[in-house]
Amino acid sequence: MGLFQHVGKYFILLGRVFSRPEKIRIYYRETIKELDKLGLSSIGIVAIISVFMGAVITIQTAYNTENPMLPAYLIGLTARDSMLLEFSSTIVALILAGKIGSNIASEIGTMRVTEQIDALEIMGVNSASYLILPKIIATVFFSPFLCLMSMIIGIFGGWIAGVSVGVITTQDYIYGIQYAFIPYYIVYALIKMAIFAFLITSISAYHGYYSYGGSLDVGKSSTKAVVRSSIFILLFNVILTQLLLS
């Protein structure tokens, strides 16, 4: 199937996902479940990668700017802006594409090949909306929190690493992370993150929903889901940066 056919089918599926839900109460219940499964359970991994990313950025910046002309607080500033602009949104999104993208594609794909989706349809349930909408709402709503958390933990990690390695003092670091601070960068990152979350969830759900065959095919769908979501995150990163920062 060509790219255009995929895109067409993807938008038809989205159309079904966003048609009016039948029983709001049940959708609410499902969304809470997904918040737990896709959102809360990602806190750990996001925290771990953020602390290490902050640490590495700080140490690398320190070793690359060993010039007495450059003030030490620049290290704090660089750590802050790197986290805010790219790492807490794009890199975290790529990690989430691996974690929740494969989870979504394999869950929905398994339901497809074991005819659970047919069972929903036969009961007159709009399976696309019932299975996918709660996941989209949960991830789009929750991912900005993950992004914000990643910024804080990353900057904190930078401080710990910088001070314990001895490349910067606490004072310089704190001065640096406050220096020439542009609050809009946070807004920019949160918007990006919400859009990435939408891409991950919808693309992975698409691949799961149109699985056909057996467990082998579900595995393939899940791989495709991760690869394609990652590519679209990178593509949209360029587009959104141009749109939001120019």
Binding site: E115, I122, M123, G124, V125
Partner: protein
């Protein structure tokens, strides 16, 4: 009564069903038999509207089902129960939740009423003390029975079963067959069952349709099968040594 008229269905240009015309009677267990890959599942899914047919009409008691609009179809679906080839229970829900699911979606019952109805259905299929287990924790035969309970939860007028006894031992298979037959008569439903199990044909074969390479090849009752001259039907039915012996015995009498 369900009437199927001139149905054609193909996937990506490859025809799977060709000009199927058949009548399924009310209050009876109607069987569709045929080899693996002959199109039984596709036919059943086309009748219930999970596949759009390319051509033809599917008539449920006078209503042309496949010409209804989305909303009318949905209304109609509440009267349809279906048992899938693999059971298709929702893995993340317990046995009880599975049976309650259609009630959750479509009835205005409160929680206790829904539970009561679910337990009534589970009892009907002889599942007791398994309410809180997950599908992965019960045997294949039990899964099939739970799936039947879920299919009948809303008191459907039409019941569809895709190979209800595949993967089961002969005794359990007959139990399931009888259960479907009893329920059908009890609620006066129109039931259609896909099978390639000869025991089912002998137990329940009042109205049997034989499908061969996507075409209706033969239709009749279990007694007609022994007298049929249809070569493909005979090859299919009397494939095993055991069934050949039975035929020879019957013919020698």
């Amino acid at each position: 009564m369900i009437e199927v008229k001139n149905i054609y269905k193909s996937f990506n240009g490859i025809p799977v069903l060709k000009n199927i015309n058949v009548l399924f009677e009310k209050g009876k267990t109607n069987l569709i038999i045929g080899q693996s890959g002959s199109g039984k599942t596709v036919l059943l899914k086309s009748i219930v509207g999970l596949h759009e047919v390319d051509q033809g009409e599917i008539i449920f008691d006078g209503t042309v089902f496949n010409k209804l609009d989305f909303k009318e179809k949905k209304e109609m679906r509440k009267q349809i129960g279906m048992l899938f080839q693999g059971g298709a229970l929702f893995d993340s829900s317990t046995v009880e939740e599975n049976v309650m699911y259609p009630l959750d979606m479509f009835s205005e019952m409160n929680y206790n009423e829904k539970r009561e109805r679910a337990n009534e259905c589970l009892k009907r299929v002889n599942i007791i003390n398994a309410n809180q287990l997950y599908p992965a924790e019960i045997s294949g035969g039990m899964q099939k029975r739970v799936a039947i309970a879920r299919a009948i939860a809303l008191n459907p007028k039409y019941l569809f079963c895709d190979e209800p006894n595949s993967g089961l031992d002969p005794q359990t298979a007959i139990l399931i067959d009888n259960l479907i037959k009893e329920i059908t008569e009890e609620y006066n439903m129109t039931t259609i069952v896909n099978t390639h199990d000869m025991n089912s044909v002998m137990e329940n074969g009042d109205n049997v349709m034989f499908i061969y390479k996507g075409e209706k090849w033969w239709q009749g009752s279990r007694d007609d099968i022994f007298d049929s001259e249809n070569k493909e039907l005979n090859d299919f039915i009397f494939a095993s040594k055991l069934s050949q012996k039975i035929r020879d015995l019957k013919n020698s009498r």
